[in-house]
């Protein structure tokens, strides 16, 4: 079980943030369609966002639909190309990378998605899904070795080796999310970006997945960016919280400060709107 524990070596950048985001911008050019009366325009999805992600912390990004929180995550993951700004990951300029160097950097950045139903290929077995990062990055070429690495990952996320040859449809939503987490951990990333990881899950299952993320962080020293619309989930999980609105961060504060004395009127509005908050 110890092979996945990151080695304790003296990192010269240990005191620096893992991720530094500066003036990040993403504009989408909205085309006017046949059903739209509005004119063409520019959607400023992410409009000059700057923040750091410290090593080993969980940073929460909260906001409502369309505030740019998922776009921010996708820009850091290089799933989208930024219109401007800078992202430094572990000291290197992430937005300037391409080809083999980008592929190598991506080992350290992994993502888990909201919908555990559409983010797993239904025609592949669990074993093949979790082994895919190994195939892409040409690791564990020996079949037996690859299989044992996958079984160890399944064990890490609370699944059993018997699940190796099963297909995603045989699993519940919570178990599928565990498969997604196992796949994300395969390359021993430094940063895990979780985009609404529990919002598609049943209430009684959400806590299982949130606890799993906390356990993995303790065990592997993971840095996590948790993106959520759920202020209670973010309060439970995060060390610091950024509140986004209309493509901008309106407030970024340590957890306790944000929830006990929110500074920005929009943060206060969000907190007051949570159902059950008044009771």
């Amino acid at each position: 079980m110890s092979t996945h524990v990151a080695e304790e070596k003296q990192d010269p950048r240990a005191d620096e943030p893992l991720v530094e985001v500066r003036d990040l911008v993403k504009h989408f050019h909205a085309a006017g369609g046949i059903f739209t009366r509005r004119k063409r325009g520019v959607v400023r999805a992410v409009d000059g966002v700057s923040f750091d992600v410290l090593r080993g912390e969980t940073l929460g990004i909260v906001g409502e639909t369309g505030c740019g929180k998922s776009t921010t995550a996708r820009l850091i993951m290089r799933l989208l190309d930024a219109s401007g700004g800078e992202v430094r990951f572990d000291g290197q300029d992430l937005l300037g990378l391409s080809g083999a160097r980008l592929k190598a950097a991506r080992c350290d950045l992994q993502m888990i998605f909201q919908d555990p139903y559409s983010s797993l290929n239904p025609r592949k077995t669990v074993g093949a899904i979790v082994a895919e990062p190994f195939a892409i990055h040409d690791l564990h070429r020996d079949r037996a070795e690859r299989r044992s690495a996958v079984c160890e990952l399944l064990d890490t996320v609370g699944l059993s080796p018997e699940h190796y040859n099963r297909y995603p449809h045989e699993f519940s939503g919570g178990q599928r999310q565990r498969i997604g987490v196992a796949r994300a951990l395969a390359l021993k990333p430094k940063l895990l970006i979780a985009d609404e990881p529990v919002s598609a899950l049943d209430v009684s299952i959400q806590a299982q997945v949130l606890n799993l993320l906390s356990e993995l962080q303790d065990r592997f020293g993971l840095t996590i960016v948790l993106i959520s619309h759920d202020l209670s989930v973010v309060r439970h999980m995060c060390d610091r919280v950024a509140v986004m609105r209309l493509g901008k961060i309106v407030e970024l504060a340590p957890n306790d400060a944000l929830y006990s004395s929110p500074e920005h009127p929009y943060t206060r509005e969000l907190l007051a709107a949570v159902p059950g908050a008044r009771s």
């Binding site: 639909t65 049943d202 209430v203 009684s204 959400q206 299982q208 209670s232 309060r235 159902p275 908050a277």
Partner: protein, 361 residues
Amino acid sequence: MTEASLNEPLLRVEDLRVEFPTEDGVVHAVDGISYDVRAASTLGIVGESGSGKTVAALTAMGLTRRAGARISGRILFEGRDLLALSEEEMRRLRGNEIAMIFQDPLSSLHPLYTVGAQIVEAIRAHRDVSKAQCRARAIELLELVGMREPDRRVDEYPHELSGGMRQRAMIAMALANEPRLLIADEPTTALDVTVQAQVLALLERLRRELSMAIVIVTHDLGVVADIAADVAVMYAGRIVESGPAARLLSAPEHPYTWGLLRSIPTLTGPRARRLEPIPGSPPSLIERPSGCHFHPRCPYAQPDHARIDPRLEPVPGEPDHRVACLLEPPLRHDLWAQLRAGGTAAQALSATTAGVPEAPA
């Protein structure tokens, strides 16, 4: 609103059962549930996916269309059994005296008709009024649900509205004929929190102003705490606990309700490093566990709970608060006291079975 009409339930559901035969076996979606909805009051039906909560609501609307569905029991609306009505009689009731709103407004609104045209259609299906009068009424309804510039919105198509505005348009359509009962299935689940708060406040205001009863189906206990007077908690097709919301949320009796309340992170109180999840996952409605359906996931289950089927019975001293649990009431009381003090299920169990209730470490 007189005292007498408050005491008489508007809707009384008695021993409702809904089964769907499928290739894999019979799905016991709703398994003998009974509940009352008082006039101008709000009942929250809480459960996870597959608990039968939506089928329970759709059946009351006569919308359990699936071929071969087997339905038994009684659904009494103002004394009339809805299950005995013809399709024609049901059509006259639906959208008129009983209306429904759904989780996803975009798929419940017709994309090729304006909002106004759809409200007009809802009115003219039940009343013989001129189109001009209907249009005026549609604008009035859009204003009632808090839409700005209703005389412009009335001519817009659903895709031109935001999610919250679409939900308001659907509520306006449901209210067109001033129903006595509104059934709302996860009405705010697809909405952002600030919009959700506005829609819940709107429903509460309309309930008061129009003396309309509401059945709200939700997975969110916070929503229930905000607007429901009474709550029924469903698990595996049954009601496992029901009662006044204030009581049920502050002094819950069923281990499943405890689990739901304790597995949710909150905005207040101390932050625990770990949440306490309910182990396992919700059961299949085809092959349900024997005895108490919750026993495989219940930390307090005893061996005979796999055999005995609990009945929904009043909690001692609380006639309105009912629970289907085989644990002895004093033991339940002690367990909840331990859990509320911050103990884990294991700590609560060892403290109570040792016979000496003590504060958890």
